[in-house]
């Protein structure tokens, strides 16, 4: 199908070809949208594109992109994971308490604790979804309250504040390497690994297959249960990792931390063109979606809107992106059908 398209294009005018490529690549249209949005912002405040501010925005979206990537894999397999905030809270609280109780434990071990907790909680989700055959939305709706409740049980209702944690732990996200903060490096590593995983490994491609058409995937030998289980382990692991980072970055661990963060993660995926029916989407899109949200939040004060407008503007942007994605998708499907009929 793709080859025939490529062959036919040279006869068309250049501009039309460019438009076509842009419509074909979700990421390209997102970049253009981002650029259009930046014009009035930069016109009003040129410092917006200063290195300092870019650095701030990237720091702000690091945790969001890690979490959004986790959510991406679940949505890709035609599921949804609502436990984002709860796993972040539990792993963040555990990290903070470990640091408070044993200040000598190195940061790496704290991060590993967060990752381990996330993997365990994600495994439970995966078990219930893949082997208990409970729909993902119900499973994670249930475990979301359970994990949040466990956070309260763990902390006994108290919280960990900045002066109860060591400066090495709180300071580590701001430690720089090659002029870039550790937090951003963490996000970059996660992005690179998951990009490679989703594009070039067999399990990664199997997630696309299951999300696109589970029955067909099963017939070509994809283990559906294992894939669905794996997806939740990946998302849980990333959420757990994000939890440890969250506590270190915001220098506090409270029981209500990251409440409703799942909506941000899903919004980044929607903006990045991830299809809710499963099987379509890519890591670069998701990262761009997170970047889009980050720029939006940072830009509000520049255009004299109070932060109280954040939710409203975000909702409208997500809705707009959703409508554009759907219309473009439907047009593409129609065109494909017409082509098939013509032959």
């Amino acid at each position: 199908m793709r080859e025939s398209q490529v062959k036919r294009t040279p006869s068309e005018p250049l501009l039309q070809r460019i438009v076509k490529i842009l419509l074909d690549r979700r990421e390209a249209s997102l970049v253009i949208l981002l650029a259009i949005m930046l014009v009035p912002i930069v016109a009003r405040s040129p410092q917006f594109l200063s290195l300092d501010n870019i650095n701030r925005i990237l720091n702000d979206i690091s945790i969001l992109s890690i979490v959004a990537i986790g959510e991406f894999f679940v949505i890709l397999s035609n599921g949804i994971d609502l436990t984002v905030g709860s796993i972040i809270a539990f792993s963040g609280m555990a990290s903070g308490m470990l640091n408070e109780a044993y200040p000598n434990v190195p940061v790496v071990l704290i991060l590993l604790l967060g990752i381990g907790i996330g993997a365990a909680m994600g495994s439970l989700n995966g078990l219930l979804v893949a082997y208990g055959k409970i729909p993902p939305i119900i499973t994670t709706l249930g475990t979301m309250s359970i994990y949040r409740g466990m956070t309260f049980v763990l902390s006994k209702g108290t919280w960990v504040t900045a002066h109860e944690m060591t400066t090495t732990f709180i300071g580590f996200p701001r430690r720089t390497f090659l002029g870039i903060s550790a937090l951003i490096w963490m996000a970059v590593i996660v992005i690179a690994l998951t990009y490679y995983f989703s594009r070039h490994t067999r399990p990664g491609r199997e997630i696309y297959a299951i999300g696109g058409n589970a029955t067909a995937a099963k017939f070509v030998g994809v283990n559906e249960k294992r894939t669905r289980f794996m997806v939740f382990v990946i998302s849980g692991t990333l959420f757990g990792f994000a939890g440890s980072l969250w506590t270190a970055r915001y220098a506090s661990a409270v029981n209500e931390m990251a409440t409703g963060f799942e909506m941000q993660a899903v919004a980044a995926c929607v903006l990045g063109g991830v299809n809710f029916a499963g099987g379509a989407g890519a890591i670069p899109g998701v990262v761009l979606g997170a970047l889009f949200l980050g720029v939006l939040n940072n830009a509000l004060p520049v255009v004299y809107l109070s932060t109280f407008y954040q939710t409203l503007v975000q909702g409208m942007v997500v809705l707009l992106a959703l409508i554009i994605n759907t219309v473009v998708d439907q047009r593409k499907t129609r065109k494909l059908l017409a082509q098939r009929r013509a032959r």
Binding site: I80, I137, L312
Partner: protein, 353 residues
């Protein structure tokens, strides 16, 4: 052939152990199980706390869950069709904001009531039109409108709370029927539950809901206007959320932008716990009503025992998972037994022949 064998096995089964079979059938019905759990819970709490089985307390406790139970009614319709709506808590915030603003401008009680309903209905209608008009996934659309509806209230109210209301407005959410201790909210809920239950189980519209939920394509080909039904569902959901907004504002006489946060998930929990399949096409009104009272009184009872809200969220989350897991396990168990019986039957016939 297979059907015949199935029939043989079934009659055999009923002949052999008729009463035991029908008993297991009855016990594996979700509504019956819920009822049993409810009774067990009442026995449990009344043994542990002398204040549980107090008529006044039991009535008073319904204030805490009537609004959510009311919202669960149209949510049944939505989930029955395989849809979902996670914007309902934000619709409450929006209607509460509208009521508060109108009240500050001097609108009377009746006017406030109308405004609350109108705002909710409009928000629900917008959801329905967006979802069916562009053919977009319900969860993604209502995720976006969730932010938009609450965002409007947030942008307008910021940190403020609207707290001035006309004198009679407190009636809806605070008062009792006549001289009794029966809350108005509870009576309203029961009346609405009967009406919505009647529509679900006894009307053509209700049958259409089941049809759409079990096979949307087949429903469309058999002449059901699927889009129209879904739009009506979302509009109803908006109307009821507006009503819940009125009741809640009237009860606490204050409107903030963070009002009713996360109620959408609690309402969905009630519906699923009540036995409505999240994939659509299965469920009853009785189940959801029992589930609403079960969760409501569970919270009340645990509060009496001075258990923290934390334990409650864990218990309710676990209950939700068990509610979905248990029928599936029972189904597998039943199927396995049936299979073994059929195999035995086949072997028997083979030896005879």
């Amino acid at each position: 052939m297979a059907e015949q064998r199935d029939l043989v096995a079934k009659t055999r089964l009923i002949e052999e152990r008729g009463w035991r079979h029908s008993l297991t059938e009855l016990l594996t019905k979700w509504e019956v199980l819920l009822g049993i759990i409810f009774v067990l819970m009442v026995v449990f709490f009344s043994n542990l706390s002398p204040y549980f089985l107090d008529y006044f307390n039991l009535m008073n406790a319904t204030f805490q869950f009537s609004e959510k139970a009311i919202m669960a009614l149209p949510m049944i319709y939505i989930i029955m069709c395989g849809d979902i709506d996670i914007s309902i808590a934000s619709i409450i915030a929006l209607s509460a904001y509208a009521i508060g603003t109108a009240s500050a401008a001097g609108v009377g009680t009746v006017g406030l009531f109308a405004i609350g309903l109108a705002v909710g209905t409009a928000a629900g209608l917008i959801n329905g039109l967006l979802i069916t008009g562009f053919n977009m996934p319900a969860i993604a659309v209502t995720l976006a409108t969730q932010s938009i509806y609450r965002g409007i209230a947030q942008a307008a109210l910021e940190e403020r709370a609207m707290t001035s209301y006309p004198k009679g407005f407190g009636f809806f959410g605070q008062d009792f029927i006549g001289q009794t201790v029966i809350p108005f909210e509870l009576v309203l809920y029961l009346v609405l539950a009967i009406v919505m239950g009647f529509i679900l189980h006894k009307s053509a519209y209700g049958r259409r809901l089941y049809a759409i939920g079990s096979a949307p394509e087949a429903a469309r080909f058999s002449g059901i206007k699927v889009k129209q039904v879904r739009i009506i569902n979302y509009t109803l959901m908006g109307l009821f959320s507006g009503l819940a907004g009125i009741l809640l504002t009237s009860r606490i006489l204050s409107a903030r932008s963070n009002i009713a946060t996360s109620w959408d998930l609690e309402v969905i929990t009630l519906v699923v716990l009540g036995g409505v399949s999240i994939n659509g096409g299965k469920g009853t009104m009785y189940g959801v009503v029992i589930a609403s009272f079960l969760v409501g009184y569970l919270k009340f009872g645990m509060g009496l025992l001075k258990l923290s809200g934390t334990i409650m969220t864990i218990v309710i989350g676990t209950l939700l998972i068990i509610a979905v897991l248990l029928p599936r396990l029972l189904d597998t168990y039943k199927n396995n037994r049936k299979l073994r019986r059929q195999q035995a039957e086949a072997a028997l016939q083979a030896t005879k022949a």
